[in-house]
């Protein structure tokens, strides 16, 4: 093929340009650390990339939902533990009060303790979470769930659960429905108090001791349910953390530069660029005119 002067210059220009562009491309990738800055940089994986990014965002939200769950279950568990302690103490007082050798002034002193315990129990039943919401009111979180008038306790909450979204399509109930359990506990303490004041060790030993023992066990159960929920939250958290790592890795594999690869490619592009410059400057110097007088 016949080669012309213009052809040599145009070709050199084109080759230098394309080698330069290739070199700049790798320089850009290395300096930004990003392989994909727009979806068409890797069209084949663009769908996967967007899906992973979306899932990652959702999981970080589930993670913060789990903090709410932790708040609920943790606070509930603490309160329930203390309630259980009160009831065990009530049981011990009942055992003491049931002893016929204890005299009446001592029983009245025990009854005073029971009153203190009842007050504490109601305080705990009206306990609040970190956002000031009532923990044992069902969904009526802004209504004080337990009110005492005279010697009667009333539940003002509802029986609905608080559900936290923990993963796509999955929720977890995080509150403990106090309801009747708390009322029973209060009423048993009330019954003990009445019988202590009334000086009836027989009734106490025949009824209150067993009833308070049963209440202690019931609260132990409620407490362990809250404990199981706490464990579940922890498991979900570590599962999310693992999933998050996987997604971060997956996104990075698509978006980020493989440095070893990019450095190799850059030095190859630099060599090619230098070679095209060298060849051009050499061939431009050659001309028939150099050999004419």
């Amino acid at each position: 093929m016949r080669v012309t002067s213009g052809h040599i210059y145009d070709n050199s220009k084109r080759n230098i340009q394309s080698n330069f562009a290739e070199m700049v491309k790798w320089q850009n990738q290395l300096s930004s650390g990003k392989r994909v800055t727009k979806l068409s940089d890797d069209a084949a994986q663009s769908g996967l990339l967007l899906r992973q990014r979306s899932l990652k965002s959702a999981i970080s939200q589930y993670d913060s939902n789990l903090r709410i769950a932790k708040d609920y279950t943790g606070n509930s568990e603490t309160q329930l533990t203390e309630m259980q302690g009160i009831l065990r103490k009530g049981y011990e007082l009942a055992v003491q009060g049931a002893n016929s050798t204890v005299d009446q002034p001592a029983r009245l002193a025990l009854a005073d303790q029971v009153v203190q315990m009842q007050r504490r129990l109601v305080d705990l039943a009206n306990g609040k979470g970190n956002d000031g919401q009532y923990l044992f009111a069902g969904q009526l979180t802004d209504t004080q769930p337990y009110t005492v008038s005279g010697n009667t306790i009333t539940y003002n909450g509802d029986a609905n659960g608080i559900r936290v979204e923990t993963s796509p399509g999955q929720t977890m109930k995080v509150n403990t429905a106090g309801g009747q359990d708390f009322i029973n506990a209060y009423n048993q303490l009330e019954s003990l108090r009445v019988n202590l004041i009334g000086g009836q060790p027989g009734v106490i030993s025949g009824m209150n001791v067993d009833a308070l023992k049963a209440q202690t066990e019931r609260f132990s159960q409620l407490r362990s349910e809250a404990g199981i929920a706490m464990q579940q939250v922890k498991d979900l958290e570590s599962m999310n953390a693992r999933r998050m790592d996987e997604l971060t890795e997956g996104i990075s594999a698509i978006e980020d530069v493989d440095f070893a690869d990019a450095v190799t490619e850059l030095s190859r592009a630099q060599t090619a660029y230098q070679a095209s410059l060298q060849v051009a400057s050499n061939s431009f110097n050659l001309s028939l005119m150099d050999y004419l007088r």
Binding site: L39, L49, R53, S54, S64, Q139, T141
Partner: protein, 462 residues
Amino acid sequence: MPGSFHGISMASSALRAFQRAMETSGHNLANVNTRGYSRQRVEMEALDPLAFWNGAQHALGSGVRVENITRAREMFLEARFHSSSGDFNRFNEYANGLAQIESVYREPGESGIGHALDKMFDAFSGLASNPSDPNAKVRVRDAASLFASRVRTTHAELGTFRGQTEANVQSTIGQINGIATQIATLNGQIRAAHASGGSPNDLLDQRDTLIRDLSQLANVTTTLQSDGTFNVHVSNFPLVNGENTREFPTAIDPVTMSITDGTTTYPVRGGSLLGQLQTLNRIDKARTELDTLANNMRAQFNAVHQTGINGLGNTGVNFFNDVTPPALPTGAVDFDLDPAIRLDPNAIASGTTTAAGDGGLALNLSQMRSVKLAVFGDKTFQQYYAGNLSSLASEIDQTVAQADTFGSVLTQIEAQAESISGVNMDEEMTDLMRYQRSYQAAARVLTIMDQVTEDLINMVRR
């Protein structure tokens, strides 16, 4: 018998011819960098023998003359150049348009619609999980407002880009008309030169260059007339006929990718004009996709949200702004939150009861994240959006690949054409030296002939 001065006139014919040849080499060298220039060659032929003698057995040559100055050009390559140039410019223009469309979306990253959509669902999930937190509703409002505004601005930016592309189309049509006028003028000059029997090489080069330019803008066919003029059709529209031109129509239809003058429709088949029409078409598709997204968002979210009781005790409240049927939903252009929610985040309902801890409705809205809608072809909101973008990305990939392919085809054809028509300086220098030497030799012949004649004259004087 030849006359006494025959030798002198023969030598002078050679001097004239070699002078023309050296001038032509000089012309070639002068135009070594001229775009579209074809190198010219002097064709020489021996002059008809002047005299015969010895019963016409011997013919004596009478010198040389320049028969023609031709230009080296392969017209077959021109046609191939036009078609490849049309394809290359079409795909190149479309690839640029697609890249612009893609850049409007700002994906992947945190500044796009996709991220805002995720964050809105996330905010609903947060509200569902902690309805009694007053900030949860503020977060829902802010996230949804951000999402709506991104849909709106993306739609608006696509609109701006559409306006620019339309302006580009008109500017391309303006260029076509400008080139048409120049071709018509050259047609006139060429016809005149043709009539007087000449070959106006430089004018032909200029016209070929203009047609090459035209082939970048749209698909071109040319027919050579017997008077040397070209009739030019662009997209089947008769643009140039001899020295007359017709205004290229300005009415465009991006759907059929054609132009129309009111009575006839001319489908555009190549060149950057087609790339621009394709871009317009693609922008409209992208905007329709955003409209679909916005309208379904309205329909789905409002239907659920209306069943709830909001923090102000109201029910039947929309989440996104909407019109009352039978008015048609307005799409992405004014997509926003319901005015009540925009005013007060407490107008958001988290549940279907007045209980402060009821997050059931927010949970339903959060789980809308994974609901597949038939209208999206069984895809979720996010999948629909991501699917649209990922098909845009592969379209860019393919278009760039096609532009590259036709680009290298074009480069090859250009190289072939250049190999025939281009000027090689070494070649021209060699020719210059050759004709210089020839000129010196012819001058020598003249000197000798002159001496011979002088001898003869001196002899007579004696």
